[in-house]
């Protein structure tokens, strides 16, 4: 891969393997993958397929047993993990908000770690961006919010320091279907508008088709397929078919496409 091509790739996985000392089977096997600037890569798979593990390599919550993960041209092991993580937004299921911080403080946490001035203005901007009027929400605590509202705060927090890359681990998984659908649409708009690069993990094929510029299908620690949504729909891979069959059962699936 030449330098010019590498410049377009924000994240690259090279022959990544991951095993735990006492486990017979490896968690991740021979993973090769790149994520281009501006795209939203969706990792699709059932529980235990290794998709969350893959995500955690990127901000060095985990380090591969062999192979390497390159972020912005530098192996994660060469990065200072703290500096790396402050350049990557992270959203997890249920938000992972700090229960003892107000919403404003939760959103402003990375800017304040970075020592920014005018954090308040940034927090207001972000809360408006995710549709939570600051005058109503800034001073509240996470436990006073609904699940959907907490998830919006989680997204705002991840965007706070304007990171080039977002990692989202089943961000809409715990929400009721209606809230999930509207948040998914809003996120699709938002990521297009902000031009962020994102890696999103889900087990929901509809979400993958709606949000992904490419879809990576994972099964037992291996990447089976890596295609655009259109080609994913046309794939004859049996695992991909199994997912697509679940779509046929849902009446409104066609409308969404």
């Amino acid at each position: 891969m030449n330098d010019a091509a590498a410049n377009h790739q924000l994240v690259q996985f090279h022959n990544v393997n991951f095993t735990l000392p006492n486990a017979p089977e490896s968690i991740i096997s021979d993973l090769n993958l790149s994520v281009a600037k501006g795209e939203t890569l969706v990792l699709l798979g059932e529980s235990g397929s290794g998709k969350t593990t893959t995500l955690k390599f990127v901000n060095r919550l985990l380090v591969p047993t062999s192979g390497e993960v390159i972020v912005e041209g530098k192996s994660t092991t060469a990065w200072d993990p703290i500096a790396l993580r402050r350049r990557i937004g992270y959203v997890i299921q249920e938000g992972g908000l700090f229960p003892h911080f107000t919403i404003a403080r939760n959103v402003g946490v990375v800017p304040s770690l970075l020592g920014w001035d005018q954090i308040d203005a940034r927090v207001e901007e972000l809360l408006n961006l995710v549709g939570l009027p600051p005058e109503k929400f800034a001073a509240r605590y996470p436990r006073e919010l609904s699940g959907g509202q907490r998830q919006r705060v989680g997204v705002a927090r991840a965007l706070a320091a304007d990171p080039p890359l977002l990692l989202l681990d089943e961000p809409f998984g715990a929400l009721d279907p209606l809230t999930r659908a509207s948040l998914q649409r809003e996120f699709a708009d938002l990521s297009k508008r902000l031009g962020k690069t994102a890696i999103l993990v889900t087990h929901d094929v509809r979400e993958a088709l709606l949000l992904g510029s490419r879809i990576g299908l994972m099964h037992r620690g291996r990447l089976l397929l890596l295609e655009t949504p259109e080609r994913f729909l046309a794939s004859d891979n049996p695992q991909a078919h199994a997912y697509l069959d679940t779509l046929a059962l849902t009446a409104n699936a066609g409308e969404k496409r």
Partner: protein, 510 residues
């Protein structure tokens, strides 16, 4: 004297003791927090250390407090007597709940919240400061709260090593048959514990993040109330049990000699086919109360103690007068008979190290008086306060010590031989006088009243159990001071079983 009058008279002394008590607890808890919280944090980062450190802290907590004080006295630097030793013991006791709750609190933080903090790019220190500690604070304060309440209790024992505090009143009250002292000490320390528990509870509620609806306040008082009830019931049981017709119940005070004298009667009665119930090692005024109420039928006592501490007469030095008047009053007031003297006296023995006695050629208390301005004295709680104790003693011999420490009597002997103090008031029949090479200064001005050993027996028991009169007659004038010292030493020094020692002694007499 009513409790109210007692409080009015002793108000300033009581406040002083409360002040000492609070300071001991506060300093100990602050030190324990400064050591314990960082230790707990460290243990959340190093899993391998957790087992051993918690194990040691656990063992500390299981050592009885008086024993721990005893271990610390002979140690250099950290030992000795006074507040420092007490503080070390208190800190050791307080560490476990603080360390344990710090660990529990931090490890109890929701994993997703901790992971989010790490993924935001917080350093380990920032995760700790901004996330783990704030979220664990409620649990950590609970640990401090538990440690504080325990420390308020344990501090009452600190009086045994001369550290002061409310234990001074409690020990003194136990030994002197004085419920006012006991009540003032115990109530104050219970109140302190409640105040500490309540105020730390408020802080804890304020610091706990996910506040649950406030518990009804009554529920918090349930354990305290239960403890008080159990205490009262056990005291009442000891006081109100009625004597059984086919048994004789024999009591003793809480030291070796008293237990030996009681065992002698018990074995001699058993040899005559009487069944005996042993209620030995009763503290303070319990034997007297139990005897008067009928729970006990007999226990060994000293004429001087009965005369001054129970009958509340000023001390006099004529043994005959003390014996006669005690016998008369016990018969009139309590329907209790005083036996013929057993043959020895257990009086206060003013002791110094043998080496100094020989070097300075000291034989009597008057000989030693000029040296006392350079000496530190260590006295048991009852010697400090009783009518025939320290105040009159120092006046009679015109003594002025460099320092006077009030501490547990049995610890004064070690304190003297390990040079923590230079003069003590021990018991004349103490076995360790010979083994520790201590020297008894003669009471040349005859200050101390007579303390002849006797048995106190209920009159109705004497009628019910005829063998008893025969046994008591045999024991009249049967044990000399030297013999008693030897018997005490067999138990205290040679660690022999008291029953065995008594069996052998009875065998030798026949």
């Amino acid at each position: 004297m009513s409790f109210w009058q007692f409080l009015q008279l002793n108000w300033s002394e009581l406040l002083g003791l409360i002040d000492q008590h609070v300071k001991l607890v506060l300093i100990a808890i602050v030190v324990a927090v400064v050591i314990g919280v960082p230790t707990g944090i460290l243990l959340t980062r190093h899993r391998a250390l957790r087992g051993p450190v918690l194990g040691i802290a656990n063992v500390m907590q299981t050592i009885p407090s008086l024993a721990l004080f005893g271990f610390l006295i002979p140690l250099p630097f950290i030992g000795g007597i006074g507040a420092r030793t007490a503080l070390i013991a208190l800190v050791l006791y307080s560490l476990l709940p603080i360390i344990r709750n710090t660990i529990t609190g931090i490890l109890g933080v929701e994993p997703s919240v901790r992971e989010a903090a790490v993924a935001m790019g917080m350093t380990d220190g920032q995760v700790l400061r901004h996330v783990e500690l704030p979220l664990a604070m409620g649990v950590i304060v609970t640990g401090i709260r538990v440690a504080t309440v325990i420390a308020v209790g344990v501090t009452t024992i600190a009086a045994a090593v001369g550290a002061g505090g409310l234990g001074v009143y409690i020990f003194r009250g136990l030994r002197q048959y004085d419920n006012n002292l006991l009540l003032a000490g115990a109530l104050s320390s219970a109140l302190l514990a409640l105040v500490a528990d309540f105020s730390l509870g408020l802080i804890q509620r304020w610091l706990t993040v996910d506040r649950k609806p406030a518990q009804p306040r009554l529920r918090k008082l349930v354990p305290v109330a239960a403890a008080v009830i159990i205490l009262l019931v056990s005291v009442l049981l000891l006081r109100d049990g009625s004597s059984n017709t086919d048994k004789i119940s024999i009591g003793s005070k809480d030291f070796t000699e008293s237990a030996l004298l009681a065992e002698i009667v018990a074995q001699m009665l058993e040899a005559r086919g009487v069944s005996v119930e042993r209620r030995f090692e009763l503290g303070g005024n319990l034997p007297h109360d139990a005897l008067v109420s009928g729970t006990l039928d007999l226990y060994p006592e000293y004429t001087g103690t009965a005369y001054t501490a129970i009958l509340h007469h000023p001390p006099i030095s004529d043994p005959r007068a003390v014996y006669d008047q005690t016998k008369q009053e016990y018969a009139d007031k309590f329907r209790v008979e005083v036996s013929a003297p057993i043959g020895f006296e257990n009086t206060f023995a003013i002791l110094i190290r043998g080496a100094e006695a020989r070097q300075l050629n000291l034989k009597t208390i008057s000989d030693a008086a000029p040296h006392t301005s350079k000496w530190r004295a260590g006295f048991g709680q009852d010697f400090m306060s009783r009518a025939d104790g320290y105040p009159g003693f120092s006046k009679t011999y015109l003594l002025k010590f460099a320092e006077v420490r009030e501490m547990d009597l049995s610890l004064t002997y070690i304190a003297l031989s390990s040079r923590q103090v230079d003069l003590i008031a021990g018991n004349s029949t103490e076995g360790r006088i010979a083994t520790l090479d201590l020297f008894q200064l003669a009471d040349d001005r005859r200050y101390f009243p007579p303390y002849e050993a006797v048995y106190l027996v209920r009159q109705d028991t004497l009628q019910r159990v005829p063998a008893l009169r025969e046994v008591l007659a045999k024991l009249a004038n049967a044990i000399s001071t030297e013999e008693m010292r030897r018997l005490n030493y067999e138990v205290d020094g040679n660690r022999r079983d008291p029953k065995e020692v008594v069996r052998q002694w009875i065998g030798g007499k026949q």
